[in-house]
Point group: C2
Chain length 413, copies 2
């Protein structure tokens, strides 16, 4: 019976939880893999010797985060023939192709389930269950912080700032929340999901993203009136002339499988003709939950039924890059503050009509100088909507620039 | 480049869809496995020679259904060293241990993702992603026919018979629907899920099941008033002194991840301390959807990174059998038709109280000879509730025996 010597890089929330979980489940890991796991060394930002840990380890678990140091560690581990399990989405969304290629070339495992949506098994399902499926689209709630904030705003009608403060108090948001609330964190995860779904290279720089900082209680209240739920949605989809990968707030019709995902949970829906759709949901963060996803990858990396080979080392080699489409078709919710006087709606409708935008519904609240106008617009190219909004902004009866939020509505699709 | 010769047993809805899907995705399968797939023979109930097909095949796909013939075919295939992919839940819920043991012994693949919940990847997630996790409970909507009928009854307030006829008209229910609506189909699937979740042998005979034939529009209307959704729920759970595996109609509180699963979709929630919970949902039936799950298993069975070994041949060898607990604790909804006169509620409450049943809420509708009394009872052992109901049935003011439906409510747990 040989030991399974694990070198652990990083000892923060997830690293500590992984160490604890591994100890609790050591007997089970031994039953499954035939090897007794042990932590043979821990590297933190302030202590430990990477070379010494690498030398005596069979497998490296990278939970130290960041990009540059982590890239160096993972690269050197793979080059030394060690399997690696990582939760590092920023690393893979920037350097995934190099690392997956290296793992394939060396025939070693590179597991990364914990990098996207925590314990939700979307990586394994995309790579294995759906390996033969031609995937059309992936929609995901892949950031728990923003989902918690939007859920709070929906539940209590509070402002964005109040909901953010509550998220920080409960540990769902960091003291500097900008990566989460601005959409960059979700963008990194969607780059990885798009790579797996479509087998083409996708870098985080290919992902357009917007955050939730501009969402107001009024948006959420109007959405509720319209029967919609507001979420920060990542989308990766196959279009006729390329792919689109993007993250932005979006209204979902009430029956959408992501509409009922509340709190800090994550969820991903995969759509394809042959499968209709599959949705997976669960905790997107949390030390023990993320550690569980890491443990699943550790077991897979060393199970006797898994030779070291292409499928384990990462996704199949990417096909040639395809065009990344920036300008896509979407339905929109528009929110404007206007002076309520005769002809206002007609002028707005005319500008929209000039760009081919047709109005699905209109709600007006208030009168006189402070009326709020909310519209839902049938799907059209984003660029055409932007052109219309630029014109509308110039009217003297518009108090502040119109705000546009996308609507994902099966009725339109 | 060698061919991947697939012997196909069964050519009904799923078999035909699999043949079509395999042709469409042949190039992708070749990319992933290095082998070009081809159907080298088809066996139907009326045509084809199993021995000849086995002789020239590399892999057998069993979609012929039934138990006895299928057992013979799968057993002989594994004995001949062929990998097998099957969608046959009845076969595995009765003879799984023998077949998994045979696959392990021969070192060949035995894939069965399509046997439970169609394309929902619950088998792979339990066997791989959660291999290291100590699972506490699995709740599943694993029968699409009954979920469609209950969804229709909820949506249109129609009777069970009308909803069943609609399900038959749309092809969601067979002309003899008894296996589905009576719960036996779901019971077979829950036996397989319990085996994987707890690694102990579970036979379909270990699963208690009830169907949905007795559900009335009044039950659903009352449930709506109480904020609950009615589903046919399979439960497999670890108890202090054994496990319980059962299928029965149950009311779910509105926030439960299975409460919003509508139509013919299937969904499974897996609960464990380390992961909190994961929910997976998608189409539970449909020829192409089930064929997609079969294709995923075919690819996994022959991928170069998968040696033939324990993990692929089936779940790990079962631990010793543990006690199957029949009498479990549950909250209940009770529906009674009573004569409305003074003292009726007090007498009912006294009988319940004698068995330790405490009343959470009461709703009474109607007056005089035809009052309907609906109660929700806090969790207690089923046997104690049954004892109370036997006594209550004897009262002369009870028009028909009380009906009891379980309630799954996080508030009580």
């Amino acid at each position: 019976m040989s030991a399974l010597r694990i070198g652990l890089l990083g000892h923060g929330t997830v690293g500590s939880a992984f160490e604890q979980l591994l100890a609790e489940r050591a007997e089970r890991v031994e039953q499954l893999t035939g090897r007794r796991p042990e932590i043979c060394g821990v590297l933190t930002r302030s202590a430990g010797d990477f070379d010494a840990i690498l030398e005596r380890s069979d497998l490296i678990v990278e939970l130290i985060g960041g990009v540059d140091d982590a890239l160096d560690y993972v690269r050197r581990s793979l080059e030394a023939g060690r399997g690696v399990v990582t939760a590092n989405k920023q690393l893979l969304s920037r350097h995934g192709e190099e690392l997956w290629e290296l793992a394939r070339h060396r025939g070693v495992a590179l597991g990364f389930e914990a990098a996207v949506a925590g314990v939700v098994p979307v990586i394994r399902v995309l790579r294995e269950s759906l390996a033969g499926t031609r995937i059309e689209r992936v929609h995901g709630i892949v950031n728990g912080t923003t989902n918690f904030i939007l859920s709070e705003m929906t539940r209590t009608s509070c402002s964005y700032d109040v909901a953010l403060a509550e998220a920080q108090r409960l540990g769902y948001a960091e003291s500097d929340p900008s990566d989460d609330v601005g959409g960059a964190d979700a963008a990194a995860k969607m780059a990885i999901l798009a790579r797996l779904a479509f087998d083409v290279p996708v870098h985080i720089d290919d992902v357009r993203f917007e955050g939730i900082e501009q969402i107001t209680p009024a948006d959420i209240a109007y959405a509720r009136d319209l029967g919609l739920a507001l979420k920060l949605i990542g989308t990766a989809e196959r279009l006729s002339d390329g792919i689109s990968v993007r993250v932005h707030p979006a209204f979902l019709y009430a029956g959408h499988p992501l509409a009922s995902v509340g709190g800090s949970f994550n969820a991903v829906t995969v759509e394809a003709e042959a499968i209709t759709e599959i949705t997976m949901s669960g905790p997107g963060a949390g030390g023990m939950q993320t550690a569980s996803a890491v443990l699943g990858d550790v077991i897979a990396a060393v199970s006797p039924d898994r030779a070291r080979g292409e499928g384990v080392g990462g996704p199949v080699a990417a096909a040639a890059a395809v065009p990344i489409i920036e300008d896509v078709v979407s339905a929109f919710y528009l929110h404007m503050e206007v002076v309520d006087r005769p002809g206002v709606l007609a002028k707005i409708a005319a500008e929209l009509g000039d760009q081919g935008a047709s109005i699905e519904s209109v709600v007006q609240r208030g009168l006189g100088e402070s009326a709020q106008l909310v519209m839902v617009i049938h799907p059209l190219l984003e660029s055409r909507l932007r052109t219309a909004l630029e014109q509308i902004t110039k009217f003297d009866f518009i108090h502040s620039p119109p705000r546009a939020i996308r609507v994902i509505d099966e009725k339109f699709e």
